[in-house]
C-alpha cells in the first residue's frame, strides 16, 4: 500500500467517525446516515482496490490510472447529485407556488 492510499484511508476513517458522532447526536436521520456510511465505505474500498482498478483499466485499453478514473467518477457523481438537488428545489418551488396561490384565492372568497 502506498503512503497516499494510507492517508486517504485515514481521512475516510475520520469522516466515518464524524458520521457516527453526528448520528449519536441525532443530527442526521437513519436514511442519511445509511447513505453516507455506504458512500464512505465504497470510497475506502475503491482506495484499497486502486491497483486492481489500474489493472482493470489497462486491460480495457485505457491509458489513465485508477486514481484518475476515480476522480472522473467522483465528478460525474457530483454532477448527478447537483442535478437531483436542482430537481428537489424545483419541486419545493412548485409546492410553494401552490400554497401562495391557495392563500391568494382564499383571501378573495
Amino acid at each position: 500500500m502506498y503512503i497516499q492510499q494510507a492517508i486517504a484511508l485515514v481521512i475516510i476513517v475520520f469522516f466515518i467517525i464524524r458520521l457516527f458522532k453526528q448520528r449519536r447526536d441525532k443530527n442526521v436521520n437513519q436514511q442519511e446516515f445509511g447513505f453516507w456510511l455506504v458512500f464512505w465505505v465504497c470510497a475506502g474500498l475503491a482506495i484499497i482496490a486502486l491497483p486492481y482498478i489500474d489493472a482493470w483499466l489497462s486491460r480495457l485499453g485505457f491509458s489513465s490510472s485508477g486514481i484518475e478514473f476515480l476522480l472522473y467518477l467522483a465528478v460525474a457523481v457530483l454532477f448527478y447529485f447537483i442535478f437531483r438537488l436542482r430537481l428537489h428545489i424545483a419541486r419545493l418551488e412548485k409546492d410553494l407556488t401552490t400554497i401562495v396561490r391557495e392563500l391568494a384565492l382564499r383571501e378573495k372568497k
Binding site: 430537481l87 412548485k94 407556488t97 401562495v100 396561490r101 392563500l103 391568494a104 384565492l105 383571501e107 378573495k108
Partner: protein, 224 residues
C-alpha cells in the same frame, strides 16, 4: 354578453398600473379586471384597489407565470367565458384587446396570441438586438419543437375558459409563454395570431432570460 376577464400580473408597477387600468376601463366592453400583485414592495396593490379592480395578492414573489395562473384560476371560478392576459407595465394597448378576443368571440379560435411581427398597420418599435438576435433565436428554438408562430414570446393572449385545462401551465417564471404554446398545439387547440402593438419602455427579456427559460423547461420536464 360574454364574461371576459382581463388578468394582469403586477410586480412593482406602481408607476404604470393606474394608467393601464384606466385604459382598460375606458374600453367599450365591460371587462372584469383582475390584478395579481406578485408580492410587490411598492404601492402597486393599493393603487390597483383604489382603481376599483379585483386584486389578488401573492404573499411570496412567485413570478409572472404563477401570477397569471392564480388570476386565471380566479377568473374561471368566477365564471369567465374568456380570459385575457395583459401586462401591467403599459407595453400593450388596451384598445387592442378587442382585436385579440375577436377570433374567440366568432368561434374561429380557442386561443389567440398577439404578435409584434405579423404584417399589418401596427408597428412595434422592437429594439434592434431583440429583433435581430434574441427573437430569431427564440423562433428557431420553438421551430425545433414544431411551433411556427411569428412571436413565441408574446405575453398578450386570450383564450376560451374551456381551453384552460388543456393549456394549464406549470412554469412559474417566464417559461410559461413557451409552455402555453406547446400545450395548445399538443392538445390540438385552434390557435390564431393577431397583430398587436408593443410599446417598449424597457428592453424586457434578455438573452440570459432566454437561457433561463430553456433551463426551467428542462428541469420541469422531470417533475410530475
Amino acid at each position: 354578453m360574454q364574461s371576459i376577464f382581463v388578468v394582469i400580473p403586477a410586480y412593482n408597477e406602481e408607476e404604470s398600473i393606474v394608467s393601464v387600468l384606466r385604459d382598460i376601463q375606458a374600453a367599450d366592453y365591460d371587462y372584469h379586471i383582475v390584478v395579481v400583485d406578485d408580492c410587490s414592495i411598492d404601492e402597486t396593490a393599493t393603487r390597483a384597489e383604489q382603481a376599483g379592480v379585483i386584486v389578488l395578492r401573492h404573499v411570496v414573489n412567485r413570478g409572472q407565470g404563477a401570477a397569471l395562473k392564480t388570476g386565471t384560476e380566479y377568473a374561471i371560478r368566477q365564471g369567465a367565458d374568456v380570459v385575457v392576459h395583459f401586462d401591467a407595465d403599459g407595453q400593450f394597448v388596451a384598445n387592442e384587446i378587442t382585436d385579440v378576443i375577436a377570433p374567440l368571440m366568432s368561434g374561429e379560435a380557442d386561443i389567440v396570441f398577439g404578435s409584434r411581427f405579423l404584417a399589418g398597420k401596427k408597428q412595434s418599435d422592437v429594439p434592434f438586438v431583440k429583433r435581430a438576435i434574441i427573437l430569431p433565436l427564440a423562433r428557431l428554438f420553438h421551430r425545433f419543437f414544431g411551433v411556427r408562430l411569428s412571436d413565441p414570446q408574446s405575453g398578450f393572449r386570450a383564450f376560451r375558459a374551456d381551453a384552460f385545462p388543456k393549456i394549464a401551465w406549470q412554469q412559474d417564471r417566464m417559461a410559461h409563454c413557451s409552455e402555453i404554446i406547446f400545450n395548445a398545439l399538443q392538445n390540438k387547440l385552434c390557435v390564431r395570431e393577431v397583430p398587436i402593438t408593443v410599446i417598449y419602455r424597457e428592453f424586457g427579456q434578455r438573452f440570459s432570460g432566454g437561457l433561463k427559460i430553456i433551463k426551467d423547461i428542462f428541469f420541469h420536464s422531470f417533475i410530475k
